[in-house]
Each structure stands twice: as C-alpha cells, then as structure tokens.
C-alpha cells in the first residue's frame, strides 16, 4: 500500500450544543476513489467543509503529503490541491466555460498584463478534450445541462492541478447515461493519480466506482476498509448499529378511525405515487435519506406546494389544499423543518410569533385583543411547552435552538390540529428538549391527534412511530408496521436500488 495523500486524525468540530465531528479519522491515497458513507447528520458535510477551508476545526490534524496543514480559508485549501465539486453547482451561469474555469486564477499576458483570454481559451479546450468532453469553451454555463456543469467543475479542479477532488452527491441530478460519463471521468482521474473522495447515498454507485470506504455515524469514525471485501449488509450495519442513547416514552397506541387517505400523490420532479392512510391517534414515521422527498410530500399535503397528481381524502371528503390557511381551517398543522427560516419570524416577539397562526380567532373585526385574549392565549400554550425565556416580549432570535423549537410547537398546538405534521422536530436541539418533544407527541397522540413524523434519525423514527413509510429518491419503497420495522429493514428500504421504470409505469 502506498503512502497516504491525506491523513485526517482526531478531527473534532463543535457547534453550539453539538459535536458535529468527534475525533474522526480518514486516510486517502493517491489514485483511489474513497467513499465516505453515513446517514444524514453523520458529519460528512462538516468534514468536507473543513477540508475545503470553510470551517475551522476545534481539534485534530490534517496531513497532506506528509506535511501538517491548516486552512484559513477556501483559497488556502484550493492552493493546497483540495477541490470540491459541490452539491449545488457553484458556478457563474452568465459567464462562459472558460471564464468559469479560470475564475480566481486568471492568466495575464506577461507583458501587457491584460487578461490573456486567448491562452485561457486554448488551455480550456485542451483540458476539455483531454476529458473527452464535447463542450465549446465559449458556451455560457447557463446553457449547459446539469451534468455538463459538473464536468466543467471537474475540469476546473483539473486546471487548479488538484490532488484531491471531493464529490458530494455528484450523481443526484444526473441521468443514467450521464452517470456513466461521470464514472468514465472519475476513472481517468484515478489513472492520473488523483485521489477522489466520493460521497453518496447510493450503494450501487459506491460498489461500482469506489475502492475504499470510511463510515461515519453521529459524528464519529466507525470503520474503514476495502469495498471489494465488503457487502451492503455489513456497511448498513456500520451505518445504523448504534447504541440507543435516548429512551423513548412509553406510547400505547390508541388508534382510531381513518382521518387522511393519500393516494398516488405526486409532484413532478420531487416525488411520485405516494399512498398511505393515517388514523386518529397514530404516529406515522416518514423516513428517507437526503433527497428522498419527505419534506416535499408534507408540504404538498399542507398546500404550500402544488401536487401534480393523486388524490387525498380528509375525513372521507375529497381534499386539496390551496394554501396553509385552508389546511389550518381543516385542522392540519405543519411544523416546518427549518425553524429559523420557516418556523419563526426571528425579529418578532414570542407573543407575536405564537399568536400569528390564530390572529383571526384572537381578533375582533381585525383588531387584535392585545390586552387579554392574546396574552392569555400565549401564556397558556407557552407554559404548556415550558419555554424558558426572559419573557414573552423578547425577540425569538434571542432564544436557544431548543427553546425556539418549543415556541414553534406552542405556535402550532394552539391551532388545535387534528393532524399534526412534524418535520425534523428534534434537529439540533438538546437532549432534554428532545425528550420533552417526544413526550409532547405521545400526549397529542393519546388525545387522538394523528401525527406524521419526519426524522433523519433512525432511532427516533423507530422509537416513536406506529408505522413507518420509507422513501427513496421520491419513491415510496416500504410501509412497515412497528412489529416488522427494524433499523435494518428501514435502512434497506431507504437505500433500496429500485426499478424506477417499473414504479413509473
């Protein structure tokens, strides 16, 4: 085995209240394709951001070609030879391929000091033909397909003389043919002695293109090895095999009559043919990896996004919501995924945030009855969620993540929903609040509220749900009863290599 190109040792990154990376390690050699595998939140993206100089680690070392390195910014990382091809292409759509490739390291004419577009154009042409890409250097990037933009980004990495190319979910928007093209280029990079860090959720791709793998779980290093000496089962076990560090509240399901029936619900480009029933007092888990389309499904049910097909029955009546207001009138509440961007108006007080969905009920002829009704209402629901704040007059942005989440929950339980949809309700909050949220869900379910729980944490989905619907890339791959749902069966459905054509039919 040859010497390592990049060695990551004991790397730690701490965000407020959470250890995103806990003494992880990673070793990549030149000329290998190395898969970085883990669930959502395992710490993959954080590691990429440290390797590309976006985040600064709290501890640990990075060694590149035997020398210890530390990046102050993205340019440092680039100069050291580490280049990332981003999930969302970070390109300048209105500029040409050549201009994009040389952005940040333009060539100047040695005498006149003018930008030397002629040489840059020639070099671009040479690079593109070396990669056997049929792209005109003068095309504007906005006129290229997603796949070709990826290729241009890779070309840019080559022009920077990268030693390590990081590909974060590079195939998520590509067709099968384009993926094959990409793999051809990955192989030629490999032959040139470049190292590639390949991040993907798709096992078939990992087994096709990667030589080695490293598995992370909950910010910790779990294992590494040769892809050829392992199989799907063993890697899945490494991804999920965690100790349950949180006890879930006892929840004796009190499942009543059907309240919502969803049939073949689809949205072009997001998800297709989702069908399930939801009963009073039931907790339905919705699980899938990034890009599975879970949030899109509930946004569509709630009327934020439009469905392109399918039907819904709410309490036996046909139902198609036009907007959030209509859904709320029908007794549906959606606690969105991102509390800062979707859940709260950060500059507003807690009072004003909590009363926002029910202003109509709290006001008389358009005038909010501030003196009594609103205060009483806010106090009642705020106390129920045990919000810790200096007072309800403070701005929402002054609270910690956990307390912000409690404000969002208080805001929604006041609408007295029959169906409560929770999108990642415990993401990034402390353990105590997490337990409070779980307890809250059980209380609501016991009262007969139907709950849809989206979570990226497998133990949470397993611990809380009566049934689990699993999605993979916009398709429904399984609905599992509590009795048949295990970490393994759920994860298997979430990474399922599915026959899209059959499901599309």
């Amino acid at each position: 085995m040859q010497d390592a190109l990049l060695e990551v040792r004991n790397l730690t990154k701490i965000f407020p209240g959470i250890r995103a990376l806990d003494e992880v390690q990673l070793t990549i050699r030149s000329g290998e394709v190395h898969a970085l595998i883990g669930e959502n939140g395992a710490g993959k993206s954080t590691l990429v951001k440290i390797l590309t100089g976006v985040y600064f680690p709290n501890g640990g070392t990075l060694t590149l070609e035997g020398k210890e390195i530390s990046f102050r910014n993205a340019i440092d990382a680039q100069n050291a030879g580490i280049v990332a091809i981003h999930q969302e292409a970070s390109m300048f759509p209105e500029l040409s391929v050549t201009e994009n490739i040389f952005m940040g390291h333009h060539l100047r004419h040695p005498k006149t000091k003018k930008l030397d577009w002629k040489t840059m154009g020639e070099q671009t042409k040479a690079l593109l033909s070396k990669m056997q890409l049929d792209i005109d250097p003068n095309t504007l990037v906005k006129n290229l397909s997603v796949a070709k933009r990826h290729m241009v980004e890779i070309t840019k990495a080559l022009s920077l003389d990268a030693k390590l190319v990081i590909m974060d979910e590079p195939t998520s928007a590509l067709t099968k043919r384009e993926v094959e093209d990409l793999f051809r280029i990955v192989r030629s990079l490999k032959e040139e002695g470049k190292a590639i860090l390949f991040i993907s959720h798709k096992f078939d791709e990992i087994f096709t293109i990667c030589d080695y793998y490293t598995v992370f779980r909950d910010g910790k290093y779990i294992a590494e090895g040769k892809v050829s000496q392992s199989n799907e089962d063993s890697i899945i076990n490494m991804m999920i095999g965690r100790s349950i560090d949180l006890l879930y509240p006892e929840h004796t399901p009190n499942i009543g009559e059907e309240i919502l029936k969803v049939e073949n619900l689809s949205q072009l480009g997001a998800f297709k043919n989702i069908s399930f029933t939801l009963h009073k007092g039931e907790i339905l888990g919705l699980f899938g990896l990034v890009g599975a389309g879970r949030s899109e499904v509930v946004r569509t049910i709630f009327g934020i996004d439009k469905a392109s097909g399918g039907t819904m029955l709410l309490e036996g009546e046909p139902f198609a919501s036009k907007d959030a207001r209509q859904s709320m009138l029908k007794g549906i509440a959606l606690v969105p995924e991102d509390r800062q961007k979707q859940g709260l108006v950060l500059k507003m007080s807690l009072t004003n945030n909590i009363s926002l969905p029910v202003l109509k009920q709290l006001s008389f002829k358009g005038v909010v009855n501030l003196a009594k009704k609103e205060q009483e209402y806010v106090q009642k629901h705020g106390r129920r969620m045990e919000i810790k704040a200096a007072g309800y007059h403070v701005q929402a942005q002054t609270l910690s993540g956990g307390n912000q989440q409690k404000v969002v929950l208080a805001k929604w339980i006041g609408t007295d929903p029959k169906i409560l949809i929770l999108d990642e309700p415990t993401k990034g909050i402390d353990v105590a609040t997490k337990a409070a949220v779980h307890q809250f869900m059980c209380t609501m379910a016991a009262k007969g509220v139907a709950i849809i729980l989206i979570s990226s944490e497998l133990p949470e989905v397993l611990g809380m749900s009566d049934r689990i619907l699993v999605m993979h890339e916009g398709y429904q791959t399984a609905i599992l009863d509590r009795s048949e749902a295990t970490a393994e069966s759920v994860m298997r459905a979430a990474i399922a290599t599915i026959d899209k054509e059959a499901l599309d039919g």
Partner: protein, 333 residues
C-alpha cells in the same frame, strides 16, 4: 465598559432608537438655541412642526412599505398628481369644500397606490423597479393633466388656501390631521391583524406563508396605505403652499426614506415603529431649519439630508451586527 455601570432599565431605554433620537435632538438644540435664542420660541417650533406635518404622513406610508421589505419611490409623483388634481378642481369649482378635496386626493392616491401594489404582488415585479416606473408615469400624468400649466394662489379659493392654517385650540388643522394620521397608524401597526402581518411578511415571508398569511394582500395593502397618505399629503400641499406646480414634491421620496431610516426602521423589513418614524421626521425638520442658523445656505439642504441617510443607515447596520454578535455569544455561552 462604562455602559455596564448603568442600571438595566436605563441601558434598555438607551438601546431603543426612539430614546437615542430624543437625546440627539436635545444635544443638537443646545448649540442652536445658544446661537439663536429665537429657535426655541413657540412660533418657530410651531413653524417647524407645520413644515414637517406633510412629511410625517408620507413617511408613515413609506414606513409600511419598507416594513414589508419594499420601497415606494413614487410618493413624490403621487403627491404632485393629486395636488395638481385638487388644485384644478378648486380652480374650476371653488364651491367644493376643502374636506371633500382632501377625500378626492386620498381616493386618487389610493388608486395610484393600488396600481403599485398590484404590480408588486401579482406582477411579481420588485417594488424598487415598479415604483421607479410609476414615479415617471405619475409625474407624466401630472403634466398631461395640467397641460404644463400651474395653478396659482389667486386662482384658488380662500377657504382651500386657508384650510391648513385654520387653528383649533391654537393648533393648525394641518397639524391636527397629522396627529390623527399618526394615531390611527400607530394603532394599526400595533393592534390590528393586518398590521401584525406586515411585520411578519417583512420579517420572514416563508414563515408567514406557513401560517397562511396572504402575502399578496399584505403587499397591496402597504402600497394602498402609502398612496392614500400621499394623496392626502398632495391635497394639503397645494393648499399650504397656495399653488400647484408640475414639479412639486420632486425628490420627496428621499426625505420620506430618510425619516424612516433615521427612525430605526430596518431597511430589509420586519422591524421598526411609527414613533421612530415620527421622531425621524422631527429630527430631519430641526436639522433643515437649523441650517440658516449656522449660516449654511439652503443649498446645503439636500447634501445634509443625503449625509444623514448614510450615517443613519451605517449606524443601523453596525448596531444590527453588534446585536447579532451578542446573540451568538449568548447562545454559545
């Protein structure tokens, strides 16, 4: 640091833009009144307040648009069109009561504001572009309406010209009207559902959408308010200055924006209050009126106004950043 020695309620009060402005005003008034004792006389204060009454109404309209994360650049042109229209009506039909003229001005202004709002809400054209277009359209309409002519004092009725100057309890009707506007919209911003929704849309349109706030309706309402208040201002302007000229209120949008920014209204929406806007207007009035006292010609007026906007914006940004840093520190700690 020194500010930590102050009791917390003093520090809290100091943190508010309103108190800063009051202190700043007081500080400014000391040297001015030393140089010119006349400045603080009842008659001069009355004059300054009357000068600022029209601006306060327009600034309040501008406030709601900025609060929703927009901007209304067409205020000056709406004032001109409505002022010209009421002036010409008065010229042709002197019997029409001034109060009716104000209502006509408000109705015309409302239609113009509605047009802005519909373009922004349903045409999805950014407010700055929409009103950059309508500022010219409405000014052009003013010229078309007047065919380039003016309405002068002797063509207007005594009752109309005298209307803003009529006093009640020794305060002019013009001032009374501005007090009513301030009171009504203070109440609107604090205690009505729609008022609350303007804050929500400006603060976070996505979160507002998730609770079913009708964004388009709010966007139309803020421009409707701005247009209506401009219409009122236009009708009063013509009477107060006893003439309607095509160029009236050119560049007035800058003063309205300046009053808001000075009053601590967040330029990206979602934060600010009516009292801040009123104090911002007052501050602008004192500075403008004090220029001759310190022997600066009125030609310096627009220069100083521009400077004030820049300084106020810079201060807003700096204090926002400091707040953010503090918040982060608190959360980590």
């Amino acid at each position: 640091m020194a500010e930590h020695m102050l009791p917390s309620f003093v520090r809290k009060a100091l943190a508010r833009r309103e108190s800063t402005l009051i202190i700043l005003l007081a500080v400014l008034l000391v040297p001015i009144s030393i140089r010119s004792p006349q400045f603080l006389s009842a008659s001069n204060i009355n004059r300054i307040l009357n000068d600022m009454a029209i601006l306060s109404m327009v600034a309040i309209g501008e406030f709601f648009v900025i609060l929703s994360n927009g901007i209304d650049l067409s205020v000056g042109s709406i004032i001109a069109f409505t002022g010209m229209a009421t002036g010409m009506i008065n010229e042709s039909y002197p019997v029409v009561h001034p109060v009716l003229l104000l209502l006509v001005g408000m109705s015309i202004g409302a239609v113009m504001g509605l047009f802005n709002g519909v373009l922004v809400a349903y045409g999805k054209i950014p407010p700055i572009i929409t009103t950059l277009g309508t500022v010219n359209i409405y000014r052009g309409l003013t010229f078309l309406l007047s065919k380039g002519t003016w309405v002068t004092a002797h063509e207007m009725s005594e009752s109309y010209i005298g209307f803003p100057r009529t006093t009640f309890l020794s305060i002019s009707l013009l001032l009374w009207i501005s007090f009513v506007v301030i009171a009504v919209f203070y109440y609107f911003s604090k205690f009505t559902r729609t008022g609350r929704e303007v804050y929500a849309i400006g603060g976070n349109p996505t979160a507002a959408k998730f609770v079913g706030v009708n964004e388009n309706r709010v966007r139309v309402v803020v421009f409707l308010i701005s247009g209506t208040l401009c219409g009122l201002a236009g009708a009063l302007w013509t009477a107060r200055y006893a003439s309607a000229v095509n160029e009236m209120a050119t560049g007035f949008e800058m003063q309205a924006v300046a009053a808001c920014v000075l009053g601590g209204v967040n330029f990206s929406g979602g934060a600010g209050g009516i009292m801040g806007v009123v104090l911002g207007t007052l501050f602008l009035g004192v500075v403008t009126n004090a220029l001759p006292v310190v022997y600066l010609s009125v030609f310096w007026q627009t220069f100083v106004q521009g400077l004030i906007i820049l300084i106020a914006l810079a201060l807003n940004t700096i204090s926002d950043q400091r707040k953010q840093t503090k918040l982060l520190a608190q959360r980590r700690g």
